[in-house]
């Protein structure tokens, strides 16, 4: 019984939250909606763990939605690269769902809570779908599902701060431009190859050789995804969206949305276009790498001068995405591995930080640094969680941040770019400044007035600490993450894997129809 269900695990990954989402609206009771959300996201997380365990050894699961064989039907294709990202999204999704109930209590009008849960589940569906699918157009469809629900989620922050509306609108415009670019790129590819299945695309592009249309397609896709992943200088939507969105949305977006976009970039750049595609190599090392370096420095410096914690973390996120892109643009296995491992490590660290800030917002009603003076004494657990996360951002040993930096710097040395190594440590030192400003405010400053602050609700503190402990655990024992990242990097580099047919043993005809396909 269980095994026949697990055979459909790839489909369940997106179907569970997709089915749960309308249920929330139909029932209309916010407590029940919360229960459904938690249940659905926990199940989703279990499925993602299962998929990760299945693929950790490098094997590939190919699942044909509705039993239609690719390239005509939609294929869900799970290897360790996207299983790792599914794992990140699934786990944070579950923790965020638990965390959400108490967090939105004060930030969102109670009448809107059911809509929040619906939008949240749809967003989760979209992100998981983008990650799991093996069909280029399907990526676009899921990307839009996640984006549209994200605009809604950000706009829900208007209950706390009206500026959420403009932030959401801004994001809507930018996000739509990005999606348009992306779909134009896919259009070019379809025009040239006549297929939308990624494996098929990879094969045909490889046979086609260098070609101006392919180049144009690549650039459109790069820019479109660059907008989604907040690649400097296409990040302008991000600081406002993160600052004015409800806290729980900031947590979710920071930990997952940009990571999924990075995954799409990796998938297209390395699997579809091929790791050794010369035009891409030139673009990555001459365009992406300088932009990544600028992001690492400029955005970290901007973060120092922010007075709002959420905004500071948002700029820090853009800088951290710079690290990931830097690793990717090194075009070597160690670099790619460093980028992928930082994908996970940054999700965990930033998730924990935003969660801690969410608790501050709940109790202090503000995320401005000056309002949080002395919070180290009134809310010791939350403040300690923030400090632990902050140390992770700096990259202090025994946190995940250290592991990322270790791999990134090793990669720089292995390609003999010692100056890169110096730049990497230089930018992580800037993190000391912006983290320490907060630590001093939390612990060393005397609070102004007497804020009547009670301790935080357990349903928020526990998920926060779950992420903090994860960030410490994976900083102490990086075996699982480095193995996953290493296998993923191998898979991405060996573009040849798509030339061989998918293993028939694991190819299961699906019983459920295609979730969405606009072909």
């Amino acid at each position: 019984m269980l095994s026949s269900i697990l055979a459909h695990a790839p489909a369940l990954q997106t179907v569970i939250p997709l089915v749960a989402a309308p249920l929330c609206v139909l029932i209309g009771q916010r407590n029940i909606a919360w229960g459904i959300t938690v249940l659905a996201s926990l199940l989703t997380a279990c499925v993602s763990v299962f998929l990760m365990m299945e693929t950790l050894d490098g094997s590939v699961i190919s699942y044909h939605l509705g039993g239609w064989a690719p390239p005509l039907g939609i294929e869900y294709r799970v290897d360790i690269v996207n299983a790792f990202v599914l794992f990140i999204v699934g786990m944070t999704g579950a923790l965020v769902a638990i965390y959400a109930r108490a967090s939105i209590e004060r930030e969102i009008d109670p009448d809107l809570h059911v809509y929040f849960y619906t939008a949240y589940l749809l967003c989760l569906t979209g992100l998981l779908g983008v990650t799991i699918t093996g069909d280029a157009f399907n990526v676009f469809v899921f990307l839009e599902i996640s984006s549209l629900s994200t605009y809604t989620l950000v706009a829900l922050g208007a209950g706390r701060d009206q500026r959420a509306l403009t932030a959401s609108y801004n994001y809507l415009i930018m996000g739509t431009i990005g999606a348009t670019f992306f779909v134009i790129g896919i259009g070019f590819l379809y025009m040239m190859t006549g297929t939308l299945n990624m494996a098929d695309l990879a094969e045909r592009i490889a046979n086609m050789g260098d070609n101006r249309v392919i180049r144009v397609a690549f650039v459109f896709i790069l820019v479109g995804i660059g907008l989604k992943l907040a690649m400097f200088p296409l990040h302008l939507w991000l600081p406002n969206a993160y600052s004015y969105a409800p806290s729980v949305v900031s947590v979710f977006l920071a930990a997952t949305a940009t990571k999924v976009a990075v995954y799409v970039l990796l998938r297209f750049a390395f699997t579809v276009f091929g790791f050794d595609y010369p035009f891409q190599a030139a673009t990555l090392s001459w365009v992406l790498m300088p932009l990544a370096l600028i992001a690492m420095f400029a955005m970290s410096i901007v973060a120092i001068f922010q007075s709002d914690l959420k905004r500071m973390l948002a700029y820090s996120s853009v800088a951290q995405i710079g690290y990931i892109l830097l690793g990717v643009s090194m075009l070597s296995k160690p670099g790619l591995m460093a980028g992928i491992i930082h994908l996970f490590n940054h999700a965990v660290t930033k998730g924990a930080l935003f969660m801690a800030v969410g608790i501050f917002v709940l109790r202090y009603g503000s995320s401005r640094i000056e309002d949080l003076r002395g919070a180290g004494r009134t809310m010791p657990w939350t403040a300690a969680a923030f400090v632990a996360g902050g140390l992770g951002l700096i990259g202090v040993p025994l946190t995940t941040g250290f592991i990322s930096k270790w791999y990134l710097i090793t990669a720089a040395f292995e390609s003999n770019d010692w100056w890169l190594a110096l730049l990497i440590v230089g930018s992580s030192l800037i993190a000391v400044f912006y983290v320490w400003r907060v630590v001093e405010a939390l612990y060393l400053a005397e609070p102004e007035g007497k804020p009547a602050v009670s301790s935080a609700p357990l349903s928020m503190v526990l998920p926060t600490w779950a992420l903090v402990l994860a960030s410490l655990y994976f900083g102490i024992d990086a075996e699982l993450t480095s193995k996953a990242a290493s296998t993923a990097a191998d898979l991405l580099i060996e573009a040849t894997q798509f030339d061989s047919p998918a293993e028939p043993a694991k190819a299961v005809p699906g019983a459920i129809g295609a979730a969405a396909n606009g072909e």
Binding site: P397, I409, A421, V425, V432, W436
Partner: protein, 501 residues
């Protein structure tokens, strides 16, 4: 259950951590809290002592906790240099634990629980550094030490304390991540290992022209060694309560720095490799300059703790210089100086603290005639000062002796001159304090803040727990002179690897 040596190693790192928790739990009961602190320090010293015989006999007990990344494990291995450092740090912790009680209570300091907790945590990190089996483990504990001492420096939470603590953290974290981590990862990329191996791991793996650059990354990256121009954090750290300055900024933290420097020289580069390539020549000159410049700055400081801090900067460079000489005798002298300087300098700091508790004076120019009122404190101060100057029969004589022999051995006679000149400068800036205390009569009009001192004379010392510890360490300076042979035997296999086989 019998206590095996390997268990003792793990316990020695964990025990102060357990102490930290217990201290935290005794927040509202000061007596219990301080009893925990003293018992932990005694137990730790006992553990270190149980490891010692095996190491003296030539064994290198090791224990691995877990592997963080493939090939990079958190593991410990006790070798002679680490043994010496652990003995010094844990032994002097007992004395300081006693002294803390007198000082913190005598001054009615705030946040004492946090203070004792961070103190225990710092000791745990120091032991971790001492016993680290590879550069990776050492680096982890190095950073733990930096972060755990930050609250101690910022202890008073005044604007001054915060500014000092910011400099402290900024320089120590900045150099360690900015340079040391780069050096470590570079080493890893070159050799594929970070284990400490006698004779070094780099020989033949690196282009000799790059060797001085790598050494520079290490030398400046080990900010705790306070090599100029990255020494500013040490004077800044003097805003901390005096027990912190005494144990951490004369012993645990700074000695962790020079200890790391020695470890890198002996076990990563290998002194023979350094001698062949002359990669450390520039470091020798820089250390020599650091010795003299810091001594001269010390002479200009009127604040007693600031003067002692610059004296520490100068003395630390003795050890760096000993390593940079790249001779066996230089390493021997450097290693010995870890113990000798620790004993002398902690005495001086504890005396400075005792003076502060008794009279609330911090400036040397206000301390005229104090020696007659506080004879024990000043007596201890004199002995500590003489040991640092290097006068027999005090411990400091031996380390200077070997350092000078090392200079001669390396053919750098000018370095002997540097050591001599530095000794003379020591005389000027340390003995002048004692001379003022004993020979200059107290001013008739007591300066502000000194109302408690009776200018007519009569002994008026600080509380017993503030005076006894410096007297004990002053006696220790004598004892070290006679037991220097033991240290020599302990270090011998490290300094003379060829002869040991």
């Amino acid at each position: 259950m019998e206590l095996t040596v390997t268990t003792a190693i793990s316990l020695a790192v964990i025990l102060p951590l357990a102490g930290t928790l217990l201290i935290g739990m005794s927040d509202k009961r000061p007596n219990q809290r301080e009893a925990v602190s003293i018992i932990t320090s005694l137990a730790l010293f006992y553990l270190v002592i149980t490891i010692a015989p095996a190491v003296f006999a030539g064994a290198r007990p090791e224990v691995t906790w877990f592997e963080v990344m493939p090939g990079l494990a958190l593991s410990f291995e006790v070798e002679p240099l680490g043994m010496l450092f652990a003995l010094v740090a844990s032994g002097l912790w007992i004395v300081t634990a006693l002294y803390c009680i007198g000082y913190m209570r005598g001054n009615n300091e705030q946040h004492q629980t946090r203070f004792y907790m961070c103190f225990a945590l710092a000791i745990s990190a120091a032991i971790g550094i001492a016993f680290a089996a590879n550069m990776f483990t050492l680096f982890i504990f190095y950073e733990v030490l930096t972060i755990s001492t930050y609250p101690l420096v910022a202890h008073k939470q005044t604007a001054d304390a915060k500014a000092g603590a910011r400099t402290y953290l900024g320089i120590l974290i900045g150099t360690s991540i900015g340079f040391q981590l780069v050096a470590i990862i570079w080493t890893w990329a070159l050799t594929g290992t970070l284990d400490f191996e006698l004779g070094g791991i780099l020989a033949g793996k690196i282009d000799p022209t790059l060797l001085p650059i790598l050494l520079a990354l290490y030398a400046f990256g080990i900010g705790k060694a306070a090599l100029m121009p990255f020494h500013r954090w040490l004077p800044s750290a003097m805003v901390a309560p005096t027990p912190v300055s005494a144990l951490l900024h004369a012993v645990a933290v700074v000695k962790a720095g020079v200890f790391t420097m020695l470890k890198v020289g002996v076990y990563i580069f290998g002194i023979d490799f350094l001698a062949e390539t002359h990669a450390s020549d520039w470091l020798m000159w820089l250390a020599a300059a650091s010795i003299l410049i810091a001594s001269i700055i010390a002479m200009t400081k009127d604040n007693l703790k600031a003067r002692l801090a610059y004296s520490t900067v100068s003395q630390l460079s003795y050890i760096t210089l000993g390593m940079a000489l790249a001779t066996s005798l230089g390493v021997m002298g450097g290693a010995m100086h870890i113990a000798m300087h620790a004993m002398g300098k902690i005495t001086l700091f504890m005396c400075a603290g005792a003076i502060y508790v008794a009279t609330h004076k911090t400036d040397i120019s206000d301390m005229d005639g104090l020696g007659r009122i506080m004879p024990f404190t000043y007596g201890a101060f004199l002995i500590g000062a003489l040991s640092i100057i290097g006068l027999p029969p005090l411990g400091g004589a031996w380390s200077k002796w070997y350092l000078m022999l090392g200079s001669a051995d390396a053919g750098h006679l000018i370095m002997i001159g540097v050591f001599m000149l530095s000794s003379i400068l020591n005389v000027v800036y340390l003995l002048s304090i004692v001379a003022r205390g004993f020979f200059v009569p107290a001013p008739r009009l007591a300066s502000v803040g000194a109302a408690a001192v009776n200018p007519k004379g009569g002994i008026q010392e600080a509380p017993l727990l503030c005076v006894l510890p410096p007297v004990l360490t002053a006696i220790g300076c004598f004892v070290l002179f006679f037991y220097a042979g033991e240290i020599y035997d302990l270090i011998y296999p490290v300094a003379f690897p060829g002869a040991a086989q």
